[in-house]
Symmetry: C2
Subunit: 261 residues, 2 copies
């Protein structure tokens, strides 16, 4: 069983209630479980509550800092139709709400309409020709760094202590335990990288809300990512994230609203 | 009182319950009230339920077709903190859920952090040098066309029966009753224009989920918009929408997931 599957597992404990354990393996800066990981846990619960297999779109609002340890997820079906179903999940710890998520599920097998791709995957050298800035080093407290492998055309400027001033980056990523991505792990992955606004010389950024569109089941292998922030206004900023699979197909697209503290 | 304020008004009718009347003035193709308008109604209710004045981010999931007539909105505060508060709104008609919305409010006056704008408003001729393709004509059943005025560098290809093949467009917009935009009306406006995928020769598109970031209070006057779709996969597509105010500031940014029927 993969680390991701193990750490996002939920156990039904009653009518629409699911017990989860947030592990210490997905901690972001500050020792708090990463927001994408928390969304992954919510989607595991919603996947159990809704009649259709594939999350198409999911939104998470982060209400307070999570902590490693037990969590209770409560799901509610908002509407279950023949082809599409929507539910909400509330993740709480010690009786206090931590994450609120809403997601719509369907079967991507029924998505047989028009296809027209006007974008393109990032133009990256092969992963073996890229650098791994972390290269097996650990970052104290930031355990999520160990859960993903990344390869970059060059190390990010901020990582070398020279923020580029341009919050835009392209790179490869995969889970480091060898598990290939699926739709649920993609929803976590779009929030897994360091905030690209670090290229502005800021110390960090906290996600308020994350919305991800899951567009196709990813092919196995490395995933090519494009992340960018264009509009930082009064400390608030969007972060846009695209994920393209090893066959060159867009598989996920996310946008988050975040705040530079 | 403006048409928008009148038609999105809600009346408290009990603990977290709000009565609304969906009018026939915001109908999209098919005679169903437009999704942005429905989100506007939900935000009016949430504005009454939450302690902070400004919506920062709002997500709406459209569960079934709305119809002009009475609606009941039920709000729930998910968390009310000192600087940020999040709530959800359920809009139902005849006891059946129609829209589920989640929004986070704060005060934009407290947004005093870093500002760095790396984007730019669309490069548009002045509104008076643009064309108004509709020019006072009405489109039978599509009453929302009468609620907004738009000005375009040239009439959209699809409007002339010659879809361009490129779903990207820039144009000016304002409410036609002369009401200047605020944050709530911006949340409606990002869904007010015809779907840009009409440039692919399709007949229409239905919004499944809409997320809007509200970034600054807009200056009075015309608003410059940029709308684009890049990824149509199996009938599903995103639509990205930016709104820039008359002072050249980004004021709203939205993305929706929609399905070409």
């Amino acid at each position: 069983m993969s680390e991701f599957d193990e750490d996002t597992a939920v156990r039904p404990v009653g009518d629409g209630a699911w017990a989860a354990t947030l592990t210490e393996r997905w901690n972001a800066l500050g020792g708090t479980p990463n927001g994408g990981y928390l969304l992954g846990v919510c989607l595991r619960a919603l996947g159990g509550a809704l009649p259709h297999p594939d999350p198409l779109v999911a939104s998470a609002t982060y209400l307070r800092r999570a902590a490693p340890g037990p969590a209770l997820v409560t799901t509610e079906v908002l509407r279950a139709g023949r082809t599409v179903a929507t539910g909400q999940a509330r993740l709480e710890q010690d009786g206090r709400p931590v994450v609120h998520a809403v997601a719509t599920y369907a079967s991507l097998d029924t998505a047989t309409g028009l296809t027209k791709e006007l974008g393109a995957p990032p133009d990256l050298p092969a992963p073996e020709d890229c650098v791994d800035p972390v290269a097996g080093q650990s970052v104290p407290g930031v355990t999520i760094v160990e859960r993903y492998e990344t390869r970059h055309p060059r190390a990010p400027g901020w990582f070398q202590g020279r923020p580029s001033g341009d919050p835009a980056h392209t790179f490869w990523i995969r889970l480091s335990d060898g598990r290939d991505a699926d739709l649920v792990s993609l929803a976590a992955l779009v929030d897994a990288a360091a905030p690209v606004v670090l290229e502005l010389g800021v110390a960090g950024s906290a996600t308020l809300q994350l919305t991800v569109h899951l567009r196709a089941r990813p092919a196995p292998g490395w995933l090519a990512c494009r992340v960018t922030t264009r509009h930082v206004i009064g400390g608030f900023h969007e972060e846009d994230f695209e994920v393209w699979d090893s066959h060159g197909h867009l598989v996920a697209q996310s946008r988050q609203l975040a705040l530079i503290p």
